[in-house]
Protein backbone atom coordinates (compact mmCIF):
# COMPACT_ATOMS: atom_id res chain seq x y z
CA UNK A 1 0.00 0.00 0.00
CA UNK A 2 1.29 3.47 -0.80
CA UNK A 3 2.20 6.07 1.78
CA UNK A 4 -0.65 8.35 0.64
CA UNK A 5 -3.39 5.73 1.11
CA UNK A 6 -1.94 4.84 4.51
CA UNK A 7 -2.16 8.49 5.53
CA UNK A 8 -5.71 8.71 4.23
CA UNK A 9 -6.75 5.67 6.24
CA UNK A 10 -5.08 7.01 9.37
CA UNK A 11 -6.74 10.43 9.08
CA UNK A 12 -10.15 8.90 8.41
CA UNK A 13 -9.81 6.59 11.42
CA UNK A 14 -8.78 9.51 13.63
CA UNK A 15 -11.81 11.55 12.57
CA UNK A 16 -14.21 8.64 12.99
CA UNK A 17 -12.82 7.98 16.47
CA UNK A 18 -13.36 11.60 17.54
CA UNK A 19 -16.91 11.64 16.18
CA UNK A 20 -17.63 8.36 17.97
CA UNK A 21 -16.30 9.87 21.20
CA UNK A 22 -18.57 12.91 20.74
CA UNK A 23 -21.69 10.99 19.79
CA UNK A 24 -21.43 7.76 21.80
CA UNK A 25 -22.81 9.27 25.05
CA UNK A 26 -25.68 10.94 23.20
CA UNK A 27 -26.57 7.72 21.39
CA UNK A 28 -26.56 5.66 24.59
CA UNK A 29 -28.81 8.24 26.27
CA UNK A 30 -31.31 7.86 23.46
CA UNK A 31 -31.08 4.06 23.13
CA UNK A 32 -31.35 3.36 26.85
CA UNK A 33 -34.36 5.66 27.22
CA UNK A 34 -36.29 2.84 25.49
CA UNK A 35 -34.97 0.21 27.91
CA UNK A 36 -37.58 -1.50 30.06
CA UNK A 37 -35.26 -2.29 32.97
CA UNK A 38 -35.18 -0.16 36.11
CA UNK A 39 -31.41 -0.66 36.13
CA UNK A 40 -30.29 1.80 33.54
CA UNK A 41 -27.36 -0.21 32.24
CA UNK A 42 -28.88 -3.66 31.79
CA UNK A 43 -30.78 -3.95 28.56
CA UNK A 44 -33.91 -6.07 28.89
CA UNK A 45 -36.30 -5.13 26.11
CA UNK A 46 -37.68 -2.06 24.40
CA UNK A 47 -40.53 -0.18 26.00
CA UNK A 48 -41.92 3.31 26.40
CA UNK A 49 -42.32 2.99 30.16
CA UNK A 50 -39.95 5.88 31.02
CA UNK A 51 -41.83 8.16 28.65
CA UNK A 52 -45.03 7.26 30.53
CA UNK A 53 -43.23 8.00 33.79
CA UNK A 54 -42.06 11.30 32.31
CA UNK A 55 -45.60 12.40 31.42
CA UNK A 56 -46.75 11.66 34.98
CA UNK A 57 -43.71 13.35 36.54
CA UNK A 58 -45.31 16.65 37.58
CA UNK A 59 -42.12 18.04 39.18
CA UNK A 60 -40.16 17.55 36.00
CA UNK A 61 -42.93 18.81 33.70
CA UNK A 62 -43.40 22.03 35.64
CA UNK A 63 -39.61 22.47 35.74
CA UNK A 64 -39.49 22.09 31.94
CA UNK A 65 -42.26 24.68 31.53
CA UNK A 66 -40.45 27.10 33.86
CA UNK A 67 -37.18 26.58 31.95
CA UNK A 68 -38.89 27.24 28.60
CA UNK A 69 -40.41 30.45 29.97
CA UNK A 70 -37.09 31.64 31.43
CA UNK A 71 -35.17 30.70 28.28
CA UNK A 72 -37.64 32.53 26.02
CA UNK A 73 -37.73 35.77 28.03
CA UNK A 74 -34.01 35.83 28.84
CA UNK A 75 -33.10 35.13 25.20
CA UNK A 76 -35.20 38.13 24.11
CA UNK A 77 -33.49 40.30 26.75
CA UNK A 78 -30.08 38.97 25.68
CA UNK A 79 -30.68 39.76 22.02
CA UNK A 80 -31.92 43.27 22.93
CA UNK A 81 -28.97 44.19 25.15
CA UNK A 82 -26.48 42.21 23.05
CA UNK A 83 -27.45 44.13 19.90
CA UNK A 84 -26.97 47.45 21.70
CA UNK A 85 -23.60 46.28 23.01
CA UNK A 86 -22.47 45.20 19.55
CA UNK A 87 -23.61 48.50 18.02
CA UNK A 88 -21.93 50.57 20.72
CA UNK A 89 -18.63 48.73 20.30
CA UNK A 90 -18.62 48.49 16.49
CA UNK A 91 -20.26 51.65 15.22
CA UNK A 92 -18.54 54.01 17.64
CA UNK A 93 -14.82 53.45 17.71
CA UNK A 94 -14.08 56.24 20.17
CA UNK A 95 -15.94 57.13 23.32
CA UNK A 96 -15.05 57.47 26.97
CA UNK A 97 -14.94 54.10 28.64
CA UNK A 98 -15.04 52.00 25.48
CA UNK A 99 -12.37 49.63 26.81
CA UNK A 100 -14.32 49.29 30.05
CA UNK A 101 -17.50 48.38 28.16
CA UNK A 102 -15.73 45.84 25.97
CA UNK A 103 -14.04 44.15 28.93
CA UNK A 104 -17.27 44.16 30.98
CA UNK A 105 -19.13 42.60 28.07
CA UNK A 106 -16.61 39.78 27.73
CA UNK A 107 -16.43 39.16 31.48
CA UNK A 108 -19.36 36.70 31.63
CA UNK A 109 -17.72 34.71 28.81
CA UNK A 110 -14.47 34.07 30.66
CA UNK A 111 -15.52 34.03 34.33
CA UNK A 112 -16.45 30.64 35.72
CA UNK A 113 -20.21 30.28 36.25
CA UNK A 114 -19.74 29.88 40.00
CA UNK A 115 -18.18 33.37 40.22
CA UNK A 116 -20.83 35.03 38.03
CA UNK A 117 -23.56 33.34 40.09
CA UNK A 118 -22.04 34.20 43.47
CA UNK A 119 -21.33 37.83 42.55
CA UNK A 120 -24.83 38.41 41.14
CA UNK A 121 -26.45 36.82 44.17
CA UNK A 122 -24.43 38.92 46.62
CA UNK A 123 -25.32 42.05 44.61
CA UNK A 124 -29.01 41.14 44.65
CA UNK A 125 -28.90 40.50 48.39
CA UNK A 126 -27.33 43.94 48.96
CA UNK A 127 -30.00 45.62 46.85
CA UNK A 128 -32.64 43.68 48.76
CA UNK A 129 -31.24 44.92 52.10
CA UNK A 130 -31.37 48.42 50.79
CA UNK A 131 -34.64 48.63 48.85
CA UNK A 132 -36.61 45.58 50.06
CA UNK A 133 -36.74 43.95 46.63
CA UNK A 134 -36.22 41.91 44.40
CA UNK A 135 -36.98 38.56 46.00
CA UNK A 136 -35.07 35.57 44.74
CA UNK A 137 -37.04 33.76 42.08
CA UNK A 138 -38.05 34.10 38.44
CA UNK A 139 -36.80 37.68 38.08
CA UNK A 140 -33.36 37.07 39.55
CA UNK A 141 -32.81 33.94 37.40
CA UNK A 142 -33.82 36.00 34.36
CA UNK A 143 -31.24 38.66 35.23
CA UNK A 144 -28.46 36.07 35.50
CA UNK A 145 -29.33 34.29 32.27
CA UNK A 146 -29.79 37.58 30.42
CA UNK A 147 -26.36 38.79 31.60
CA UNK A 148 -24.66 35.65 30.30
CA UNK A 149 -26.77 35.70 27.13
CA UNK A 150 -26.01 39.38 26.40
CA UNK A 151 -22.31 38.60 26.27
CA UNK A 152 -22.84 35.76 23.77
CA UNK A 153 -25.41 37.66 21.70
CA UNK A 154 -22.99 40.59 21.43
CA UNK A 155 -20.35 38.27 19.94
CA UNK A 156 -22.80 36.86 17.37
CA UNK A 157 -24.17 40.27 16.33
CA UNK A 158 -20.65 41.76 16.22
CA UNK A 159 -19.46 39.18 13.70
CA UNK A 160 -22.40 40.08 11.44
CA UNK A 161 -21.86 43.83 11.88
CA UNK A 162 -18.24 43.43 10.77
CA UNK A 163 -19.41 41.84 7.50
CA UNK A 164 -21.83 44.70 6.83
CA UNK A 165 -19.85 47.69 5.68
CA UNK A 166 -22.41 50.39 6.44
CA UNK A 167 -22.57 51.56 2.81
CA UNK A 168 -26.24 50.64 2.56
CA UNK A 169 -26.94 52.68 5.71
CA UNK A 170 -25.20 55.65 4.15
CA UNK A 171 -27.11 55.20 0.91
CA UNK A 172 -30.43 55.14 2.76
CA UNK A 173 -29.36 58.23 4.70
CA UNK A 174 -28.47 60.02 1.44
CA UNK A 175 -31.89 59.13 0.05
CA UNK A 176 -33.47 60.96 2.97
CA UNK A 177 -34.18 58.28 5.58
CA UNK A 178 -34.24 59.36 9.19
CA UNK A 179 -31.85 57.44 11.48
CA UNK A 180 -34.62 55.29 12.94
CA UNK A 181 -35.93 54.55 9.44
CA UNK A 182 -32.45 53.45 8.40
CA UNK A 183 -32.39 51.13 11.38
CA UNK A 184 -35.82 49.56 10.76
CA UNK A 185 -35.71 49.44 6.96
CA UNK A 186 -32.07 48.65 6.25
CA UNK A 187 -29.96 47.59 9.23
CA UNK A 188 -32.49 45.39 11.01
CA UNK A 189 -33.46 43.23 8.00
CA UNK A 190 -29.77 42.71 7.22
CA UNK A 191 -29.09 41.77 10.82
CA UNK A 192 -32.05 39.41 11.14
CA UNK A 193 -30.19 36.11 10.54
CA UNK A 194 -27.65 37.07 13.23
CA UNK A 195 -30.44 38.04 15.63
CA UNK A 196 -32.14 34.68 15.07
CA UNK A 197 -28.95 32.72 15.69
CA UNK A 198 -28.22 34.86 18.77
CA UNK A 199 -31.72 34.11 20.06
CA UNK A 200 -31.29 30.35 19.51
CA UNK A 201 -27.86 30.34 21.14
CA UNK A 202 -28.91 32.31 24.22
CA UNK A 203 -32.13 30.28 24.51
CA UNK A 204 -30.03 27.10 24.59
CA UNK A 205 -27.57 28.56 27.11
CA UNK A 206 -30.40 29.51 29.44
CA UNK A 207 -32.23 26.21 28.96
CA UNK A 208 -29.00 24.39 29.84
CA UNK A 209 -27.77 26.45 32.79
CA UNK A 210 -27.64 24.88 36.22
CA UNK A 211 -25.05 26.90 38.16
CA UNK A 212 -26.46 30.42 37.78
CA UNK A 213 -30.00 29.16 38.42
CA UNK A 214 -28.93 27.36 41.59
CA UNK A 215 -27.43 30.57 42.98
CA UNK A 216 -30.25 32.88 41.88
CA UNK A 217 -33.34 30.74 42.34
CA UNK A 218 -35.67 31.03 45.31
CA UNK A 219 -38.04 28.52 46.90
CA UNK A 220 -40.54 27.12 44.41
CA UNK A 221 -38.48 27.93 41.34
CA UNK A 222 -36.65 24.83 40.14
CA UNK A 223 -35.60 24.83 36.50
CA UNK A 224 -35.28 21.63 34.48
CA UNK A 225 -31.47 21.46 34.74
CA UNK A 226 -31.73 21.99 38.52
CA UNK A 227 -34.12 19.03 38.85
CA UNK A 228 -31.98 16.85 36.57
CA UNK A 229 -28.82 17.85 38.41
CA UNK A 230 -30.18 17.01 41.83
CA UNK A 231 -31.45 13.63 40.57
CA UNK A 232 -28.19 12.86 38.76
CA UNK A 233 -26.24 13.58 41.95
CA UNK A 234 -28.26 10.92 43.75
CA UNK A 235 -27.74 8.31 41.07
CA UNK A 236 -29.04 7.13 37.73
CA UNK A 237 -32.64 7.66 36.77
CA UNK A 238 -34.13 6.42 33.47
CA UNK A 239 -36.67 9.26 33.36
CA UNK A 240 -33.70 11.57 32.72
CA UNK A 241 -32.89 9.51 29.62
CA UNK A 242 -36.43 10.01 28.37
CA UNK A 243 -36.36 13.77 28.92
CA UNK A 244 -32.88 13.88 27.35
CA UNK A 245 -34.13 12.10 24.24
CA UNK A 246 -37.03 14.52 23.85
CA UNK A 247 -34.69 17.53 24.19
CA UNK A 248 -32.12 16.08 21.79
CA UNK A 249 -34.74 15.42 19.11
CA UNK A 250 -36.25 18.90 19.43
CA UNK A 251 -32.85 20.65 19.47
CA UNK A 252 -31.50 18.68 16.50
CA UNK A 253 -34.54 19.51 14.40
CA UNK A 254 -34.35 23.18 15.40
CA UNK A 255 -30.63 23.47 14.65
CA UNK A 256 -30.91 21.79 11.25
CA UNK A 257 -34.01 23.81 10.31
CA UNK A 258 -32.41 27.09 11.34
CA UNK A 259 -29.18 26.38 9.49
CA UNK A 260 -31.21 25.61 6.36
CA UNK A 261 -33.19 28.81 6.88
CA UNK A 262 -30.12 31.02 7.32
CA UNK A 263 -28.27 29.54 4.34
CA UNK A 264 -31.43 29.99 2.24
CA UNK A 265 -31.73 33.63 3.37
CA UNK A 266 -28.06 34.18 2.64
CA UNK A 267 -28.41 32.84 -0.91
CA UNK A 268 -31.56 34.89 -1.46
CA UNK A 269 -29.80 38.06 -0.29
CA UNK A 270 -26.76 37.40 -2.51
CA UNK A 271 -29.07 36.81 -5.49
CA UNK A 272 -30.98 40.03 -4.87
CA UNK A 273 -27.75 41.97 -4.47
CA UNK A 274 -26.41 40.58 -7.74
CA UNK A 275 -29.74 41.36 -9.42
CA UNK A 276 -29.72 44.93 -8.13
CA UNK A 277 -26.14 45.36 -9.25
CA UNK A 278 -26.78 44.10 -12.78
CA UNK A 279 -29.96 46.22 -13.03
CA UNK A 280 -28.07 49.35 -12.07
CA UNK A 281 -25.42 48.64 -14.71
CA UNK A 282 -27.92 48.36 -17.57
Amino acid sequence: MSQATNNKIFSNLWMIAVYLFLYLPILTLVVYSFNDSKLISTWTHASLRWYEALIKDDDLISAVLLSLKIAGISALMSVFFGTFTAFALNRYKRFTGRTLLSSMSSMPLVMPDVIVGLSLLLMIISVQHWLGFPDKGLFTILLGHALLGTAYAAVVVTSRLREMDGKLDEAAMDLGCKPWQVFYLVTLPLLLPALISAFLLTFTLSFDDVVLSSFLSGPGYSTMPMVIFSRARLGLNPTINAVATVTIVVVTIAVIASSFYTSHQERKRKREEAQAYSDSNK
Binding site: L29, D113, V114
Partner: protein
Protein backbone atom coordinates in the same frame (compact mmCIF):
# COMPACT_ATOMS: atom_id res chain seq x y z
CA UNK B 1 -23.68 69.29 18.43
CA UNK B 2 -24.44 72.43 20.40
CA UNK B 3 -22.43 72.78 23.56
CA UNK B 4 -25.35 74.02 25.63
CA UNK B 5 -27.41 70.88 25.08
CA UNK B 6 -28.51 69.43 28.39
CA UNK B 7 -27.54 66.04 29.73
CA UNK B 8 -30.92 64.45 29.01
CA UNK B 9 -31.24 65.65 25.45
CA UNK B 10 -27.74 64.34 24.82
CA UNK B 11 -28.80 61.04 26.34
CA UNK B 12 -31.71 60.89 23.92
CA UNK B 13 -29.65 61.39 20.80
CA UNK B 14 -28.77 58.19 19.00
CA UNK B 15 -25.15 57.67 19.90
CA UNK B 16 -25.50 58.26 23.61
CA UNK B 17 -28.62 56.12 23.91
CA UNK B 18 -26.93 53.26 22.05
CA UNK B 19 -23.89 53.46 24.32
CA UNK B 20 -25.58 54.12 27.65
CA UNK B 21 -28.06 51.20 27.52
CA UNK B 22 -25.42 48.40 27.50
CA UNK B 23 -23.26 50.52 29.82
CA UNK B 24 -25.87 50.66 32.58
CA UNK B 25 -26.67 46.98 32.06
CA UNK B 26 -23.08 45.79 32.47
CA UNK B 27 -22.19 48.25 35.25
CA UNK B 28 -25.15 46.95 37.26
CA UNK B 29 -24.75 43.23 36.54
CA UNK B 30 -21.01 42.77 35.91
CA UNK B 31 -18.92 45.55 37.47
CA UNK B 32 -20.83 46.21 40.71
CA UNK B 33 -21.19 42.49 41.60
CA UNK B 34 -17.42 41.98 41.25
CA UNK B 35 -16.79 44.98 43.52
CA UNK B 36 -19.28 43.55 46.01
CA UNK B 37 -17.43 40.21 46.01
CA UNK B 38 -14.22 42.11 46.70
CA UNK B 39 -15.90 44.00 49.53
CA UNK B 40 -17.44 40.94 51.15
CA UNK B 41 -14.17 39.00 50.89
CA UNK B 42 -12.72 41.66 53.21
CA UNK B 43 -15.43 41.35 55.86
CA UNK B 44 -16.37 38.59 58.28
CA UNK B 45 -19.59 36.74 59.09
CA UNK B 46 -21.72 38.16 61.89
CA UNK B 47 -24.57 35.78 62.54
CA UNK B 48 -26.36 35.25 59.24
CA UNK B 49 -25.02 38.31 57.47
CA UNK B 50 -21.66 39.95 56.90
CA UNK B 51 -20.03 42.70 58.96
CA UNK B 52 -20.18 46.27 57.72
CA UNK B 53 -16.92 47.37 56.27
CA UNK B 54 -17.64 51.03 56.92
CA UNK B 55 -18.86 51.89 60.41
CA UNK B 56 -20.79 55.20 60.73
CA UNK B 57 -21.67 54.87 64.42
CA UNK B 58 -19.26 57.61 65.55
CA UNK B 59 -20.56 60.09 63.00
CA UNK B 60 -17.64 59.62 60.66
CA UNK B 61 -16.82 56.62 58.51
CA UNK B 62 -14.44 54.08 59.96
CA UNK B 63 -13.11 51.55 57.47
CA UNK B 64 -12.37 48.06 58.74
CA UNK B 65 -10.66 45.65 56.40
CA UNK B 66 -10.64 42.06 57.46
CA UNK B 67 -8.06 39.88 55.75
CA UNK B 68 -8.81 36.74 57.76
CA UNK B 69 -10.35 34.88 54.79
CA UNK B 70 -7.27 35.48 52.67
CA UNK B 71 -4.97 34.54 55.56
CA UNK B 72 -6.91 31.31 55.89
CA UNK B 73 -6.64 30.51 52.16
CA UNK B 74 -2.88 31.01 52.15
CA UNK B 75 -2.19 29.22 55.43
CA UNK B 76 -4.49 26.20 55.07
CA UNK B 77 -2.76 23.68 52.82
CA UNK B 78 -6.09 22.26 51.62
CA UNK B 79 -6.95 25.46 49.71
CA UNK B 80 -3.50 25.68 48.13
CA UNK B 81 -3.68 22.03 47.21
CA UNK B 82 -7.10 22.54 45.65
CA UNK B 83 -5.94 25.53 43.57
CA UNK B 84 -2.90 23.57 42.40
CA UNK B 85 -4.96 20.50 41.54
CA UNK B 86 -7.49 22.67 39.61
CA UNK B 87 -4.61 24.08 37.58
CA UNK B 88 -3.22 20.57 37.10
CA UNK B 89 -6.54 19.18 35.81
CA UNK B 90 -7.09 22.24 33.60
CA UNK B 91 -3.59 21.89 32.09
CA UNK B 92 -4.06 18.18 31.55
CA UNK B 93 -7.44 18.75 29.89
CA UNK B 94 -5.91 21.40 27.60
CA UNK B 95 -3.05 19.10 26.65
CA UNK B 96 -5.28 16.11 25.88
CA UNK B 97 -7.67 18.32 23.87
CA UNK B 98 -4.70 19.64 21.88
CA UNK B 99 -3.31 16.15 21.18
CA UNK B 100 -6.73 14.89 20.02
CA UNK B 101 -7.95 18.14 18.46
CA UNK B 102 -4.93 19.27 16.46
CA UNK B 103 -4.73 16.24 14.15
CA UNK B 104 -8.52 16.32 13.86
CA UNK B 105 -8.62 19.98 12.84
CA UNK B 106 -5.72 19.34 10.45
CA UNK B 107 -7.46 16.40 8.76
CA UNK B 108 -10.73 18.33 8.65
CA UNK B 109 -9.03 21.29 6.91
CA UNK B 110 -7.51 18.83 4.38
CA UNK B 111 -10.75 16.98 3.65
CA UNK B 112 -12.79 17.70 0.46
CA UNK B 113 -14.14 21.27 0.47
CA UNK B 114 -17.77 20.24 -0.04
CA UNK B 115 -17.68 17.98 3.03
CA UNK B 116 -16.22 20.57 5.39
CA UNK B 117 -19.45 22.43 6.31
CA UNK B 118 -21.03 19.13 7.30
CA UNK B 119 -18.00 18.00 9.32
CA UNK B 120 -18.03 21.36 11.09
CA UNK B 121 -21.74 21.11 11.83
CA UNK B 122 -21.20 17.64 13.32
CA UNK B 123 -18.67 19.16 15.75
CA UNK B 124 -21.07 21.94 16.75
CA UNK B 125 -24.19 19.80 17.08
CA UNK B 126 -23.36 18.18 20.45
CA UNK B 127 -22.69 21.70 21.74
CA UNK B 128 -26.38 22.49 21.18
CA UNK B 129 -27.62 19.50 23.16
CA UNK B 130 -27.61 20.00 26.89
CA UNK B 131 -24.18 19.96 28.49
CA UNK B 132 -25.65 18.60 31.73
CA UNK B 133 -27.36 15.68 29.97
CA UNK B 134 -24.15 14.77 28.13
CA UNK B 135 -22.25 14.67 31.43
CA UNK B 136 -25.03 12.56 32.90
CA UNK B 137 -24.66 10.22 29.91
CA UNK B 138 -21.02 9.60 30.84
CA UNK B 139 -22.16 8.70 34.33
CA UNK B 140 -24.43 5.99 32.90
CA UNK B 141 -21.51 4.74 30.80
CA UNK B 142 -18.77 4.76 33.44
CA UNK B 143 -20.50 3.57 36.65
CA UNK B 144 -19.46 0.23 38.17
CA UNK B 145 -22.79 -1.20 37.04
CA UNK B 146 -22.71 1.08 34.00
CA UNK B 147 -22.98 0.29 30.32
CA UNK B 148 -19.25 -0.06 29.52
CA UNK B 149 -18.61 -2.45 32.42
CA UNK B 150 -21.75 -4.44 31.61
CA UNK B 151 -20.84 -4.82 27.96
CA UNK B 152 -17.23 -5.80 28.75
CA UNK B 153 -18.37 -8.32 31.36
CA UNK B 154 -21.00 -9.92 29.13
CA UNK B 155 -18.36 -10.29 26.43
CA UNK B 156 -16.07 -11.94 28.95
CA UNK B 157 -13.27 -9.39 28.60
CA UNK B 158 -13.26 -8.67 32.34
CA UNK B 159 -14.57 -10.61 35.34
CA UNK B 160 -15.12 -7.76 37.76
CA UNK B 161 -16.17 -4.19 36.93
CA UNK B 162 -13.36 -1.68 36.42
CA UNK B 163 -13.74 1.24 38.83
CA UNK B 164 -13.86 4.23 36.49
CA UNK B 165 -16.36 6.58 38.12
CA UNK B 166 -15.31 9.12 40.76
CA UNK B 167 -11.67 8.95 39.70
CA UNK B 168 -9.39 11.46 37.93
CA UNK B 169 -10.02 9.32 34.83
CA UNK B 170 -13.77 9.95 34.76
CA UNK B 171 -13.18 13.64 35.51
CA UNK B 172 -10.75 13.90 32.57
CA UNK B 173 -13.16 12.09 30.23
CA UNK B 174 -15.93 14.54 31.13
CA UNK B 175 -13.74 17.64 30.79
CA UNK B 176 -12.07 16.60 27.51
CA UNK B 177 -15.45 15.58 26.13
CA UNK B 178 -17.08 18.92 26.99
CA UNK B 179 -14.27 21.21 25.88
CA UNK B 180 -12.85 19.41 22.81
CA UNK B 181 -15.01 21.45 20.37
CA UNK B 182 -13.58 24.67 21.87
CA UNK B 183 -10.11 23.43 20.88
CA UNK B 184 -11.09 22.15 17.43
CA UNK B 185 -13.00 25.21 16.19
CA UNK B 186 -10.23 27.87 16.44
CA UNK B 187 -7.63 25.36 15.20
CA UNK B 188 -9.77 24.51 12.19
CA UNK B 189 -10.41 28.20 11.46
CA UNK B 190 -6.66 28.73 11.49
CA UNK B 191 -5.54 25.60 9.61
CA UNK B 192 -8.14 25.95 6.85
CA UNK B 193 -6.55 29.29 5.91
CA UNK B 194 -3.04 27.84 5.73
CA UNK B 195 -1.46 28.46 2.33
CA UNK B 196 -0.71 25.01 0.89
CA UNK B 197 1.96 26.50 -1.39
CA UNK B 198 4.39 26.79 1.54
CA UNK B 199 4.21 23.03 1.98
CA UNK B 200 4.56 22.43 -1.78
CA UNK B 201 7.62 24.68 -1.88
CA UNK B 202 9.12 22.78 1.06
CA UNK B 203 8.46 19.45 -0.69
CA UNK B 204 10.06 20.76 -3.89
CA UNK B 205 13.14 21.71 -1.91
CA UNK B 206 13.35 18.17 -0.55
CA UNK B 207 11.86 18.55 2.96
CA UNK B 208 10.15 15.43 4.27
CA UNK B 209 6.40 15.84 5.04
CA UNK B 210 7.10 15.16 8.72
CA UNK B 211 9.75 17.86 8.94
CA UNK B 212 7.62 20.29 6.91
CA UNK B 213 4.75 19.76 9.36
CA UNK B 214 6.89 20.75 12.35
CA UNK B 215 8.78 23.55 10.58
CA UNK B 216 5.88 25.15 8.70
CA UNK B 217 2.40 24.02 9.69
CA UNK B 218 2.81 24.14 13.46
CA UNK B 219 4.51 27.57 13.64
CA UNK B 220 1.92 29.06 11.25
CA UNK B 221 -0.94 27.75 13.37
CA UNK B 222 0.46 29.19 16.61
CA UNK B 223 -2.42 31.68 16.97
CA UNK B 224 -4.96 28.86 16.68
CA UNK B 225 -3.10 26.74 19.23
CA UNK B 226 -3.01 29.59 21.74
CA UNK B 227 -6.67 30.54 21.19
CA UNK B 228 -7.88 26.95 21.49
CA UNK B 229 -5.74 26.23 24.56
CA UNK B 230 -6.96 29.31 26.40
CA UNK B 231 -10.59 28.63 25.46
CA UNK B 232 -10.19 25.22 27.12
CA UNK B 233 -7.94 26.18 30.03
CA UNK B 234 -9.86 29.23 31.32
CA UNK B 235 -13.30 27.66 31.83
CA UNK B 236 -11.98 24.31 33.09
CA UNK B 237 -10.19 25.91 36.06
CA UNK B 238 -13.48 26.99 37.66
CA UNK B 239 -15.59 24.05 36.45
CA UNK B 240 -18.20 22.90 38.95
CA UNK B 241 -20.75 20.57 37.32
CA UNK B 242 -18.31 18.04 35.82
CA UNK B 243 -16.28 17.42 39.03
CA UNK B 244 -19.50 17.28 41.03
CA UNK B 245 -21.08 14.61 38.79
CA UNK B 246 -18.04 12.66 37.60
CA UNK B 247 -15.12 13.52 39.89
CA UNK B 248 -16.22 12.09 43.21
CA UNK B 249 -15.03 13.46 46.54
CA UNK B 250 -11.33 12.70 46.05
CA UNK B 251 -10.71 14.96 43.06
CA UNK B 252 -10.16 18.50 44.31
CA UNK B 253 -11.51 21.36 42.19
CA UNK B 254 -11.76 24.97 43.33
CA UNK B 255 -15.23 25.56 41.87
CA UNK B 256 -16.64 22.94 44.23
CA UNK B 257 -14.84 24.50 47.21
CA UNK B 258 -16.47 27.85 46.43
CA UNK B 259 -19.87 26.20 46.10
CA UNK B 260 -19.51 24.36 49.43
CA UNK B 261 -18.23 27.43 51.29
CA UNK B 262 -21.34 29.27 50.16
CA UNK B 263 -24.09 26.64 50.25
CA UNK B 264 -22.91 24.27 53.01
CA UNK B 265 -20.84 26.47 55.32
CA UNK B 266 -22.76 29.70 54.65
CA UNK B 267 -19.43 31.48 54.80
CA UNK B 268 -19.88 34.37 52.37
CA UNK B 269 -16.52 36.11 52.99
CA UNK B 270 -14.66 32.85 52.49
CA UNK B 271 -16.55 32.04 49.27
CA UNK B 272 -15.85 35.57 48.02
CA UNK B 273 -12.15 35.35 48.88
CA UNK B 274 -11.91 32.01 47.04
CA UNK B 275 -13.59 33.72 44.06
CA UNK B 276 -11.22 36.72 44.12
CA UNK B 277 -8.13 34.48 44.12
CA UNK B 278 -9.69 32.48 41.27
CA UNK B 279 -10.23 35.68 39.26
CA UNK B 280 -6.56 36.63 39.77
CA UNK B 281 -5.57 33.16 38.54
CA UNK B 282 -7.66 33.55 35.38
CA UNK B 283 -6.23 36.99 34.55
CA UNK B 284 -2.88 35.50 33.45
CA UNK B 285 -4.20 33.14 30.75
CA UNK B 286 -6.72 35.83 29.75
CA UNK B 287 -3.92 38.33 29.12
CA UNK B 288 -2.13 35.72 26.98
CA UNK B 289 -5.33 35.11 25.01
CA UNK B 290 -6.07 38.81 24.46
CA UNK B 291 -2.51 39.47 23.33
CA UNK B 292 -2.58 36.63 20.79
CA UNK B 293 -6.00 37.75 19.49
CA UNK B 294 -4.76 41.32 19.08
CA UNK B 295 -1.66 40.08 17.24
CA UNK B 296 -3.77 37.90 14.96
CA UNK B 297 -6.07 40.82 14.16
CA UNK B 298 -3.15 43.13 13.45
CA UNK B 299 -1.85 40.75 10.76
Amino acid sequence: MAINQGFFSRLLDGKHAVISIPYFWFILLAAIPILIILKISLSEMQGTSVSNMIDWSNGWPKLTLNFSSYQFIFSDSLYLKTYLSSIKYALLTTLICLVIGYPFAYFMARSPKHLQPMLLMLIMLPFWTSFLLRIYAWKTLLENNGIINNVLMSMGVIDAPIAMMNTPFSLMIGMVYSYLPFMILPLYANLSKLDIRYLEAAADLGTSPFKAFWLITVPLSKAGIIAGSMLVFIPTIGEYVIPELLGGSSTLMIGRVLWNEFFSNNDWPMASAVAVVMILLILVPMAIYNKSQAEAEAK
